[in-house]
Homo-oligomer: 333 residues x 4
């Protein structure tokens, strides 16, 4: 399913090397000011160009096809389209028979009986996250008091405290060796109202993890104290309330109790795996020749695509929170 | 929302200290043999009674209200109801004004404007997981070749290798000090067909994490190598294919590529927080008296409720996989 | 699917001759007063007992299993259960091989490969409408200003103007001949706010007709001037606005423009087919014996089950409108 | 909501006088051959140009933006876009203050607080039905054995038997007087398998009527004998089975028993209201000037837009049946 949400509904489409990718957003309240400039900041954060990111350059200009009139949302579905310009499909031709390890090549080819568009990863490309960022820009307008901040916590074996000194070298050396890196990213959200989340099944953790794991390459998530917190005694883990606003002395629960926001900061951390595409040759099965062969993946890769993930994470979470926010609007009797 | 799934649909209801709890399961194919005995094994795994679990005893006998005729599923919705018998609500009376840290008391009271049934945690009680286990029994019948195995990896600071020697003492001492423990649990699923998962949004990781985080007290999840894997180089992390079945030399992706199962074992690990209810007094805000007061929670608690979670985790995941399994049935043209 | 609605969600279960039937209602706002007495009036309207209705007597007492605490809704799912008491399944035994014309016997037996519970129609019984009536009682509490009124417009060839003089005789004569009758019912809803309906697909007509056609035996629906209106010229059909409230001079559109309520009365009419079960023998195929045979249906039937449909129609529509009402709550920016 | 379906999912977007309209179709199985030529026949049936239809000319060429690779569906979402070329928005400017009777102008302006794009009806324009036709082309590929045939049964007061002799004159005279016409259309579907439909709520009648009433201007629907059938005795109405295939001697139920197809032809009839836009002046309220004023609607209208509805009806129904068809795929145990 390429749809997310029940009131703020996001539908994603497109392929890496087709005519383009886009997102259809339904359920957006009418009367929200929305212009192309609103997208500039977040889209530029996702762009490549820094050390460690792919040399593929796309201008990533959003085209608002529908749902906006005279710079305001109309209440009708908003279709935002990004044209693909800088595509180069030659190198991807034989990945159905000799699938890239870590990629969707093998599993998708099986699932779609070989009809999937495999060029550039097709519908499974990280390029689809552009659509999440764009939809998140609108979601954030609904959540106008919320403050999102994301931070890379580690890259490979390097902790963020070491970045200034060591990161540039580490990235260059890894690139030089034809290899790749993963890492971890944290997200903090401030000014969250109390009461978001629709348990039993739509706990805040459920809804946020659901959209976060749709970002290609995410392999873990933890809220509050997470895995480390399993070593605490209950008396240490419990976050005691300290004032009438519901503020707590610690935040081991990551701002969520019983699947519902408690008004403290939402805090979560994700694990991003190393880029699957590497230049270094890999010994892996060729399903056509029926034997293990060396595979060298040419093309343009991010050494550490996690460098571009923080804004994707933020905006994906914003989509999910906008949906919970609209669901939580109270009806009084 | 108390509903999960699109083809195999599970709807949960009930409260800890009301007349009972139950689950309505819709979309179950007709013709599946189903008797009360089918539930015995999994339900008994969830029961209390072991060291470290609550003294509340419930016989947990399922009542099949609808959807089964002559011991076979009919295709109509299956309602399974569990009566509450051993309830004792006296001790829970003032948790709306003096909410228990770590519990849903505060956030739910705010969300539902004080109308929530707070007795025993009400609809937020761990007792609701009984419904997940029951629905999972039916899900597993749909997934009849899949093999589920769950294992407690750690309790508090104790690794599973130390359990034989040290666990009993550790639990008793913690109980004695009026405190509680959390831990981690792993789940391995074998014989998973290739092709489950419906990206972009319904990746296997998305769907599994979504239902897993509806289990009260789960605070983290990782697939395959998870957080540790972020330190690997891509050349180490990538799982290379080694034969025509798609078997891989390592399983750092946890059996999932591009959000789709690749036929290798699904492997995941979850973080379970320490039981929130502890006998030890806690200094926390009283919203009625408007000051910080000591709160001592009487009643019956699990020292480490994670001891009862493995079968809940298994069966919750079975529910999600049954839904993906039915969605993946191929149509040929 | 046995579920209806996106915010006010109704899930139906049970069989005619099983342990009972019921309804699970999720998404009900907390804080609505709800007691057993609230159900009495509507449930009694649906009861049999009048001339032309079945001699099967059920006391139809609702059991509120969950979601209500101290006579107020809690925000958790509300399960309402009705026990079956007066069941008599002997006469239904061979309808899988010799299916009753007009019933679901044949199509359901094929669909569910013979595993369907066919006793008393099983999950396809008109008894399931009890669940709609019960859920509608709660829906009407959300729509507290709306005024519903339904009226039987015709029974068989008899127009409502003739009922006083001729109906009793007509029903008795039809019963005597072992035959049955259908008819038409109108529904008017006053005090409907402007703006309900979520086009493109969830037009008011779409949503209302969708739930109305789930009532067994409905075969037609028209809004406003309906089929007769197709003979009007546009200049006659168009409802001109006559004041600032949006009141119109005529109501050929049935209170709905562009799929959205315009504040005038919703007006619709439905066609109810004659009761399928008749005492009169019918020549119809026996799929076991492989020939056409006479089938005489014993048991207890309504001569004209439409006599019991008006409150079902009202409350089914109330369910759909409650869902649209909750969806239409405005968010301001 | 602009989405329809649970497995075959259709999302519609666009406005009459914006950059274009389109449809995103998700859940299409991979491996279906699909080229632009597949759309030609059905799209041309919907076109204007005949007597009684609007002079607005659009070439209506579909652009397949995603989801198709090398002329086969890939399993990813298919976005089909139609550019608007022949737009003329000048005449629509003041319909928010002086709304057209019968149109969405008033109700939509209220619902969307005046932010709706009202040019040419915006998102409420009949032009959106182009998206339904396009999606229906794909749906029919899934239903490749089904045979659809639609027929105009009446226009205004003219029965189809009179069309040859009288229709052209009738349309011209109505046009000349600045007025408009409605009518009725029947749809017959042959070769329908037994077992489609997912009661209780997703009866075939529910699902078909739901999508049919999203077509602008539909005001009634009846299945089989419909309203006329309410005058039959049960012994006449009941469709007796006559052979082992389930064929019935009559088809008063329109091929549907208990909400499930019984293998006989699906037969239904719809009521289409007269075109709301007429040249003839109408006395209707001006909400800005606060009085009743004469309104003359200039622009380009269909005298009888129902002339273009048959293919829309067919393809809308095909969308709904494709969804039911995919849901009905059996799983065996």
């Amino acid at each position: 399913m390429n749809s997310f949400g029940s009131l703020f509904r996001v539908h994603i489409y497109g392929e890496s090397h087709g005519s383009g990718i886009g997102v259809l957003i339904d359920g957006v309240p009418s009367g929200i000011k929305l212009t192309l400039e609103d997208f500039t900041k977040d889209l530029s954060k996702r762009k490549s160009g820094k050390i460690g990111t792919t040399p593929r350059k796309e201008d990533d200009i959003p085209n608002i096809i529908s749902g906006v009139f005279n710079d305001f949302t109309t209440g009708a579905p908003i279709n935002i389209f990004f044209e693909n310009k800088n595509t180069d499909s030659k190198v991807y031709t034989d990945f159905k028979s000799h699938p890239r390890p870590g990629h969707a090549d093998f599993s998708a080819t099986k699932k779609y009986s070989g009809f999937n568009d495999i060029r550039g990863g097709g519908h499974f490309s990280g390029r689809l996250t552009l659509a999440l960022v764009a939809a998140g820009v609108i979601a954030k307008k609904i959540l106008n008091d919320f403050i999102f901040s994301s931070e890379i916590e580690s890259i490979g074996i390097l902790n963020k405290l070491e970045f200034d000194k060591k990161l540039e070298n580490y990235l260059l050396e890894t690139a030089h060796s034809g290899d790749s890196l993963g890492g971890t990213i944290s997200l903090t959200i401030k000014n969250v109202p109390i009461g978001l989340g629709e348990p039993f099944f739509d706990s805040v953790e459920s809804v946020l993890s659901s959209i976060i794991f749709s970002i290609p390459g995410i392999k873990g998530i933890e809220f509050g104290a997470g895995f480390k917190g399993t070593e605490f005694l209950g008396s240490k883990f419990n976050d005691c309330f300290i004032d009438k606003s519901g503020k707590t002395s610690s935040n081991n629960n990551g701002g969520i109790n019983g699947g519902i926001t408690n008004g403290n900061d939402i805090f979560l951390k994700v694990a991003v795996k190393p880029t699957s595409s590497i230049f270094k040759p890999q010994e892996t099965f060729n399903f056509k020749d029926k034997n293990i062969q060396s595979l060298k993946i040419n093309g343009r890769h991010d050494v550490a695509f996690l460098l571009r993930v923080p804004i994707v994470l933020e905006n994906a979470v914003a989509i999910a929170l906008a949906d919970l926010y609209l669901q939580n609007k109270k009806i009084f009797f």
